[in-house]
């Protein structure tokens, strides 16, 4: 099996690792780096569960090879809260508004929404729904996720205004 050593940033930290060239980014994160917060739901790029940010843009980590992440910055759920453990406003809002049930799709949802709120700080409900239309959740019916996102956006705008 072909191996390659790759160098990349994970949640702001430089990492160097040897990976099989066939290994997906999702498997590398989960099993190579023990960052098991990124989940896989379909392994064919539809459900959005494995979404991470690559240089700030959401990608399906099941559809990408680890070697393709060489030289890039990958953000995962493990890096969403602040270093001191303080929740990101999305995490707070998801808890307040019951934006998760089984929690399996949640990391992918949060990473997708982090990108949305960076680009669209004051989204409409329709924009939130559109942003997560590539993330399947079987538990919540999405309404609480939408409500949580709108709340997080308000909080983030207020903080920015401070």
């Amino acid at each position: 099996m072909l191996q390659k050593t790759i160098k990349l940033q994970i949640n702001g930290c430089e990492r160097v690792a040897a990976v099989d060239t066939r290994t997906s980014l999702a498997d590398f994160l989960r099993h190579g780096l023990s960052l098991t917060g990124t989940h896989v739901g379909c392994e064919h790029g539809v459900c959005g569960t494995c979404t991470v940010l690559l240089d700030g843009a959401s990608v399906r980590s099941c559809l990408m090879l680890a070697v393709q992440a060489e030289g890039h910055h990958v953000e995962t759920i493990e890096g969403l809260a602040q270093a001191d453990g303080c929740f990101h406003p999305l995490q707070d809002a998801f808890r307040d508004k019951h934006g998760l049930q089984c929690g399996y799709c949640t990391p992918g949802m949060l990473m997708t929404l982090k990108e949305l709120l960076r680009e669209t700080p004051d989204p409409t409900e329709a924009e939130v729904r559109d942003a997560i239309s590539g993330n399947i959740c079987r538990c919540t019916g999405y309404q609480s996720i939408v409500n949580a996102t709108l709340q997080a956006a308000r909080v983030m705008r207020m903080k920015k205004g401070d």
Partner: protein, 821 residues
């Protein structure tokens, strides 16, 4: 030593003077206005205890568990729906890199007591000619049936090797349609069977023929109902750890039924119960498929025993499409007899239920459908004949709702038919037939699976419908519809009522234990799969012990921690486990007061439990914490123990029930149909639910939202397709459509809170009732929108191409276009 008593224990002495004085005061300051012991915890939307870990990527789902030296498992599966297996050549696979073992059923023979699975949990001997094989090597009966187990160093090596196994088949005749399969002379799904009909049951009561004989009107309809798959976002998975020290085995499974698996595995593996522990880690959704036991759950532990190695199998989505249970198809033929005023006199008919190739569980699903048909309505006479028929497709068992959605759809379609034929408003037809409040509790002459009578115990169904109609502006709709039609828009409204029997017994375990730290643990056989059952049980326990919910830890789904347990299904856990925990926590509280009375020498009547301390009502400085009481009750070597007390600050309760408690719902959907695209857009969705006492309203609402959206999928999107050779043709989420956020309108929830008279919490189950009326309400609305074309819809789901062709057919032949698959 023996002259010492409990009061002499140093710890009690130590805690008396200072510790006990400071803490209560500090706590009291925060609660000047509300007496802490009366603070309401049950009934509050307490943030979920499960969330912090899940929000930070710190959950522990099955594939997140890392064991040393684990081998990864993949299965070679049948490529054909029905075939005799003539040759399996594993040599090439065994030689592949990283491969440790390639195992056939014969290879597992030495570590199992049976080659096929037992039916439910009644022991290894309880196999039938319809329970699945652990590995099927002689004849395969559905695409995806597990045949060969490969264990390799990595998962990709295991999958590569599984693909390299050479299997030769003699293709046999495939049985793809349950209706054809039920006919005499049909080819048979498996050669060991003489007929495809697994079972025929008759359900009913009253004088049906007489009712039809005297009826003013009789109307008939044929219905096809399809419910697809469960699709939790986390698939199935099994991890087996061999324990060399004692020859034992730990098994983790992403299941709703750890105790079922425990009992079955002890039988199949011939293990002593004390050598096996089954655990559920965090479960990424259940929705029914994890209610069944599967061949993989036996093959992986058996192979681990054989190889003496830790093994992990994690299902991928394609396997989930092929080999996890589905609900799939029911074919109904129904007649309804009504009098001149649209009062129901009787219902009769037949139901053909597609069971798939095997029956891993008793056939509860069609039984539920048959007994649930009459739902919240008074039906004086009823008879249905049910045929449960094998086909060469993956086995069928419960998906969220478990046969109730089909029953509701059938009943509501009949009522819409009555309305349509008699020209009476759909809501009015229902109003005339709903069980009125003054007839509650209303006994239906049917039996639940437990044998107990089927009793709608409480709820005001008429008021529920009235409130829902008012909220949805039902009466104004014709005007809105006429206006839309004038603009060339086809909008429609539909309604449906439903009930769901919840809280299925016979019991669920609840063990409440206070640690010396004062922390409380709850152990239960209930299974957490995302519903927030841990938070709800913590609230129930915290209320009784006057502690905060976050000081309670709930450990569920672990057969060592909770030796007895039933599991997660039938909207049962809050009612059953909740009642057990409620009573157990009450017993612990009473015991704490009794112990404190003995230790502090204060009469029990003069003590109260406040903020996790038992204190004197008169003088709160005289108190003991629950932790100190637990410490005292743990005993000390050689010291006397008060005769009136039992060791341990804990209680163990198995609250029992045979009855079901009924949640009820009324839904109104407003839709718009694009007749050029066959597309349905939901404009508005109003849903009433009465689920009894709400322990955590936020969680209840979340369950209802999720349930409704599952129902939307069943009405408009989810279709598990097979071709004529029973080859699955929708095996990705791009082909099998789950509802996404953009298809769902804001859901308007309203509700009542009629306490259940059947359990100490007054609670009713909430996991499924939201799903049950949805397809009925939406299809009714779609049909209403298409009134100008006079179409009748007799199926669910209704996908765009079907709807498009239905409208086209109606336009070409303007009378009644009916579709039946």
């Amino acid at each position: 030593m023996t002259d010492l008593t409990l009061e002499d224990l140093p710890l009690v002495e130590d805690c008396a003077p200072e510790d006990l004085l400071e803490a209560p005061r500090a706590l009291k300051k925060e609660n000047v206005e509300v007496k802490p012991s009366q603070r309401r915890i049950v009934g509050e939307s307490v943030p979920r205890l499960e969330d912090p870990a899940l929000l930070t990527g710190q959950g522990h789902f099955l594939d997140d568990i890392a064991l040393p030296d684990v081998l990864h498992v993949a299965f070679a599966r049948s490529a054909h729906a029905h075939a005799a297996v003539t040759r399996i050549d594993v040599e090439a696979a065994r030689a592949m890199p990283g491969v440790h073992a390639v195992l056939l059923m014969d290879d597992l023979e030495s570590v199992v007591t049976t080659r096929r699975m037992p039916l439910s949990a009644a022991g290894a001997k309880n196999t039938t000619t319809s329970t699945p094989f652990i590995l099927s090597n002689d004849e395969v009966a559905y695409v995806g049936e597990p045949m060969v187990l490969v264990a390799a160093r990595t998962r990709c090596q295991a999958e590569d090797a599984a693909a390299a196994i050479e299997i030769e088949y003699d293709i046999l005749t495939v049985v793809a349609d349950a209706r054809e399969a039920a006919k005499p002379g049909s080819p048979i799904v498996r050669r060991e069977l003489k007929t495809n009909v697994l079972n025929s049951i008759e359900v009913g009561y009253g004088e049906v023929d007489e009712a039809f004989g005297k009826a003013e009107h009789v109307f008939a309809t044929d219905l096809w109902q399809h419910r697809g798959c469960g699709h939790p976002l986390e698939g199935r998975g099994v991890l087996a750890e061999v324990r060399p020290a004692d020859g034992g085995l730990y098994v983790w499974s992403s299941t709703q039924m750890p105790h079922d698996l425990f009992y079955a595995l002890t039988g199949v593996l011939g293990l002593d119960e004390n050598h096996l522990r089954v655990m559920t880690p965090d479960v990424g959704g259940g929705f029914g498929p994890k209610y069944c036991l599967y061949p993989e759950e036996f093959a992986v532990p058996a192979a681990a025993r054989l190889l003496g190695r830790n093994l992990k199998w994690v299902e991928d989505r394609r396997e989930n499409f092929l080999a996890a249970i589905q609900e799939r198809d029911q074919f109904w033929k129904l007649e309804i007899a009504v009098d001149a005023n649209a009062k129901i006199l009787g219902i009769r008919g037949t139901l053909v239920h597609d069971q798939g190739a095997y029956a891993p569980k008793p056939v509860n699903l069609p039984y539920n459908s048959a007994t649930a048909l009459t739902g919240p309505y008074i039906v004086p006479a009823y008879y249905i004949e049910v045929q449960i028929v094998h086909t060469n497709k993956v086995p069928v068992s419960s998906v969220r709702g478990a046969g109730y959605p089909q029953a509701a759809f059938a009943m509501e379609r009949l009522l819409d038919l009555v309305s349509y034929e008699l020209g009476i408003d759909r809501a009015e037809v229902r109003r005339r037939n709903l069980i009125p409040l003054d007839k509650m509790p209303y006994t239906k002459p049917l039996k639940a699976r437990s044998g107990a009578g089927l009793v709608c115990d409480s709820g005001d169904y008429l008021a529920a419908q009235a409130e829902t109609l008012a909220r949805a502006a039902w009466d104004d709709f014709p005007a809105r519809q006429a206006k839309a039609l004038a603009e060339g828009r086809y909008i429609g409204i539909g309604l449906a009522n439903a009930v769901k029997g919840t809280g299925r017994g016979p019991f669920e375990s609840g063990i409440v234990r206070v640690a010396q730290s004062g922390k409380v643990s709850v152990f239960t056989g209930a299974t957490a799969m995302g519903q927030g059952i841990g938070t709800a049980l913590a609230q129930i326990c915290a209320q009784q012990l006057s502690v905060t919910p976050d000081s309670v830890t709930v450990i569920s789904g672990d057969t060592t921690m909770s030796p007895l347990g039933i599991g997660g299904f039938a909207s049962r856990q809050l009612v059953t486990a909740g009642s057990s925990v409620h009573i157990a926590a009450q017993e612990v509280a009473a015991k704490a007061v009794k112990a404190a009375s003995a230790i502090l020498r204060i009469p029990e009547d003069d003590l109260e439990l406040v903020n996790g301390r038992v204190q004197s009502c008169a003088d709160s400085t005289k108190s003991m914490s629950l932790g100190d009481i637990a410490t005292a009750l743990r005993g000390a070597p050689g010291y006397a123990f008060p005769a009136e007390l039992e060791p341990g600050l804990e209680a163990r309760v198995h609250w029992k029930t045979d009855a079901l408690t009924y949640s009820n719902a009324c839904h109104v959907a407003e839709v718009e149909v694009d007749i050029e695209l066959g597309e349905v857009k939901i404009l508005r969705y109003v849903a009433f639910h009465d689920v009894g006492k709400r322990i955590n309203p936020m969680i209840v609402e979340g369950q209802l939202h999720g349930g409704i959206v599952h129902g939307i999928g069943n009405a408009l999107y989810e279709f598990m397709g097979f071709d004529e050779n029973a080859q699955p043709v929708t095996t990705t989420f791009a082909e099998y459509l789950l509802v996404t956020a953009t298809e769902v309108p804001p859901l308007e929830l309203i509700g009542g809170e009629t306490p259940s008279p059947l359990n100490p919490l007054g609670a009713k189950g909430v996991g499924e009732v939201g799903t049950i009326p949805v397809a009925a309400a939406i299809i009714s609305a779609v049909e209403n929108a298409l009134q100008p074309f006079q179409v009748r819809i007799t199926q669910t789901p209704i996908l765009p191409p079907t709807l498009f062709h239905l409208v086209r057919a109606a336009q070409a032949a303007p009378l009644k276009a009916t579709i039946t698959r």
